[in-house]
C-alpha cells in the first residue's frame, strides 16, 4: 500500500508547486516577498530581489552547475562585477547546486534574507557596527522593535561602492527678494 501512496504524494506535491509557482512567472511585478524571519534577534527587511530573476531556480536547475570560471556572455550581462573581481567570482557567494541560496565559507547554505552573514565573513568591523545599529540603517522604534536594512539595500553586491543619486530640491536662494519695510512677503 505504502509503495502506491508515496508516488501519489510526490505527484500531488509537484502539482501544487506548479499551481503555486505559476502566478510568479506570469505576473512577477506584483510579487511581494514575505517578511523575513528573525535570526539571532535581528529582524531584517525582505531582500531587494529582482522579480525578473528570482527565483533563480526557474532557470538554474537544482543540483546542476558549470564550475568553470568564465565571462558570462548570454545571461546576466548587465551585472558589472567590481568586488574583488580578480580573486572572486559568482560561485564564491552563490551556492552552486541551489541558486536560490548563498553559501558561507563553512559550506552552510543561507537564504538571501541572511546575506549579511555572508558579507560579514570579510567585512568584520562593519558587520559588528551594523549589528549594533551604527553602520547602515534601521527603522522602527528607538525604544523597541527595529527593522534592519540589509547590506544589499544600499550596496550593489556585485559593485558595492555607493553610487551617486539624485538630490532633492535645493533651498530657495535669497537673491532677487529685497526686504522692503511694510511690503507683503509673498
Amino acid at each position: 500500500m505504502k509503495q502506491v501512496v508515496a508516488p501519489f504524494f510526490v505527484a500531488f506535491g509537484l502539482f501544487l508547486l506548479v499551481i503555486c509557482g505559476a502566478p510568479r512567472c506570469g505576473d512577477s511585478a506584483n510579487v511581494t516577498p514575505p517578511e523575513s524571519p528573525v535570526y539571532e534577534g535581528i529582524r531584517t527587511l525582505a531582500p531587494p530581489l529582482s522579480p525578473d530573476y528570482f527565483p533563480c531556480t526557474t532557470c538554474h536547475e537544482l543540483g546542476k552547475t558549470n564550475n568553470q570560471r568564465r565571462q558570462l556572455k548570454d545571461e546576466h550581462t548587465s551585472i558589472v562585477f567590481d568586488h574583488d573581481e580578480k580573486n572572486r567570482w559568482c560561485l564564491d557567494c552563490h551556492a552552486p547546486l541551489d541558486r536560490d541560496k548563498l553559501h558561507l565559507a563553512s559550506g552552510e547554505l543561507i537564504g538571501f534574507d541572511q546575506s549579511y552573514r555572508l558579507c560579514g565573513q570579510c567585512h568584520g568591523p562593519t558587520y559588528r557596527d551594523w549589528k549594533v545599529g551604527v553602520h547602515g540603517k534601521r527603522t522602527g522604534m528607538w525604544n523597541g522593535r527595529k527593522n534592519y536594512f540589509l547590506c544589499v539595500h544600499c550596496h550593489d553586491p556585485h559593485s558595492p561602492s555607493i553610487k551617486p543619486i539624485n538630490p532633492f530640491p535645493a533651498p530657495a536662494m535669497p537673491v532677487g527678494k529685497p526686504f522692503l519695510f511694510g511690503s507683503k512677503n509673498k
Binding site: 527603522t139 528607538w142 538630490p167 533651498p171 512677503n185
Partner: protein
C-alpha cells in the same frame, strides 16, 4: 500715620479709590473684550492663555481641543494635537555620520513634510552644507545651494519617496543612478554637513528669551510655545547654529500636505511672527518612533536614541567612534554629535 489723618480726608480717599476701581471694572466689563478682540483677531481664549508650564491638566486639555478646532476651521481637516510629556529616564541624543552623508537633502524635505513648515515663504529646519574636501570644515567655504538646478517643487517620484521611504531601495537602481537630475550627489571631492538644532544641554537661545517662551524639556528637547512667543528674535541672534527660523509671513501649508499627527510643542501650525525650530520630531519620538529625518536617510547616516540607555546605538557611537561637536568652544554642549563611521 493713618490714625492721625482727619476723618474727612479718609472719606475722600475712600471715595476716590472706590470710583477708580469701579471705573476700571466698567471699562473691563464693557470695552476690553471688544478692544482685545479687535487686536488679536477675535480669539480671546488664545490671548488670555497661561504659560504652557503653568497650565493645569484640565486647562491644557481645553487648549489642545481649541487648537484642534482651529485646525479644522483653517484646514478643513481633522487633526490630533497631543501634549504628551517627557518620559522619565530618557535623554535624547542624535548622531550623524559625516563619512556616510551624501547630501541628498531627503532629510530636509521629510522634515518639512512631517513638521508642517511653511512652504511659502519657505522654512526648512535642516540645512545641508557642502564643503570642498581639500578645505576641510571651513564654514566660509560652505555652500547650501549645491545642485541649484534641482530647486523647485518636488517631483512625483520624490513625493513617493517621502510617503514611503522604503521605496528608495535598492539605492543603486537605474532610475536613481542614471535617470533624473544631471547633478548627482555626492559630487566628487565634496563632503556634506547637515545642520539643524543641536538641542544644547546649555542652550543660549533659552537664556535670552525675555518671556520664557522657550525652554528645555526634561528629555533634552528645546521647545517653543508659539502662543507665548512675542517674536523678538533674540533667540535667533543667540543661536550659534542658525537653527531657529522666524515666520515673517503667515505660514502656508496646503491642507493635503498637512500632517494631522501633531504635538503642542512641535509641529502644530505656527502663527505669523513666531519663532520655530527642530524638536527631534517630538510628536514621533515621545511615542517611541524615530524622527522623520532618521527614517528617510537613504544611507543610514542619521542615528537617534536614548543617551541613558547603555545599549543604544548612540552610546555605542560615543564609546567607539571619533565624535566631534560643532563650535565646541562655545560650551553649549550640544546633544547632536557628528562622527566618522569609517
Amino acid at each position: 500715620m493713618k490714625k492721625n489723618l482727619p476723618r474727612r480726608v479718609l472719606a475722600r480717599r475712600k471715595f476716590l479709590k472706590d470710583s477708580v476701581v469701579s471705573a476700571a471694572g466698567i471699562a473691563a466689563g464693557l470695552s476690553l473684550p471688544g478692544v482685545l478682540a479687535g487686536c488679536i483677531g477675535g480669539d480671546l481664549d488664545a490671548f488670555l492663555q497661561k504659560h504652557f508650564l503653568e497650565l493645569t491638566p484640565a486647562e491644557l486639555e481645553k487648549v489642545v481641543r481649541r487648537i484642534e478646532k482651529d485646525n479644522l476651521k483653517k484646514f478643513g481637516k481633522t487633526t490630533t494635537v497631543s501634549a504628551k510629556p517627557a518620559t522619565p529616564g530618557v535623554s535624547f541624543a542624535y548622531a550623524l555620520d559625516l563619512s556616510r552623508c551624501i547630501g541628498c537633502r531627503r532629510c530636509v524635505h521629510a522634515c518639512v513634510k512631517e513638521n508642517n513648515q511653511s512652504r511659502d515663504p519657505e522654512i526648512q529646519w535642516i540645512r545641508v552644507l557642502e564643503f570642498p574636501k581639500e578645505k576641510g570644515i571651513d564654514f566660509s567655504e560652505a555652500n547650501p545651494y549645491y545642485c541649484a538646478p534641482s530647486a523647485g517643487p518636488l517631483s512625483d517620484e520624490q513625493k513617493e519617496i517621502l510617503a514611503n521611504p522604503e521605496s528608495q531601495y535598492p539605492l543603486y537602481k537605474k532610475s536613481e543612478t542614471e535617470g533624473g537630475s544631471a547633478c548627482k550627489v555626492p559630487r566628487t571631492d565634496h563632503f556634506y554637513v547637515p545642520i539643524q538644532c543641536q538641542q544644547c544641554e546649555d542652550p543660549p537661545c533659552v537664556k535670552v528669551c525675555p518671556v520664557r517662551a522657550t525652554w528645555k524639556e526634561s528629555d533634552g528637547i528645546v521647545v517653543v510655545d508659539y502662543n507665548w512667543c512675542i517674536g523678538c528674535r533674540y533667540c535667533m541672534a543667540a543661536c550659534p547654529y542658525g537653527a531657529r527660523h522666524f515666520n515673517w509671513a503667515e505660514p502656508k501649508v496646503a491642507p493635503d500636505d498637512l500632517n494631522p499627527d501633531m504635538h503642542y510643542l512641535g509641529n502644530r501650525p505656527r502663527y505669523r511672527g513666531v519663532v520655530e525650530k527642530c524638536t527631534f520630531c517630538i510628536q514621533r519620538t515621545r511615542n517611541g518612533r524615530y524622527p522623520a529625518c532618521v527614517e528617510i536617510c537613504p544611507v543610514g547616516a542619521r542615528k537617534f536614541g536614548n543617551l541613558l540607555d547603555p545599549k543604544s546605538e548612540i552610546r555605542s557611537i560615543l564609546e567607539h567612534k571619533r565624535v566631534l561637536i560643532l563650535k565646541n568652544d562655545l560650551a553649549t554642549h550640544p546633544k547632536f554629535f557628528y562622527f566618522y563611521g569609517l
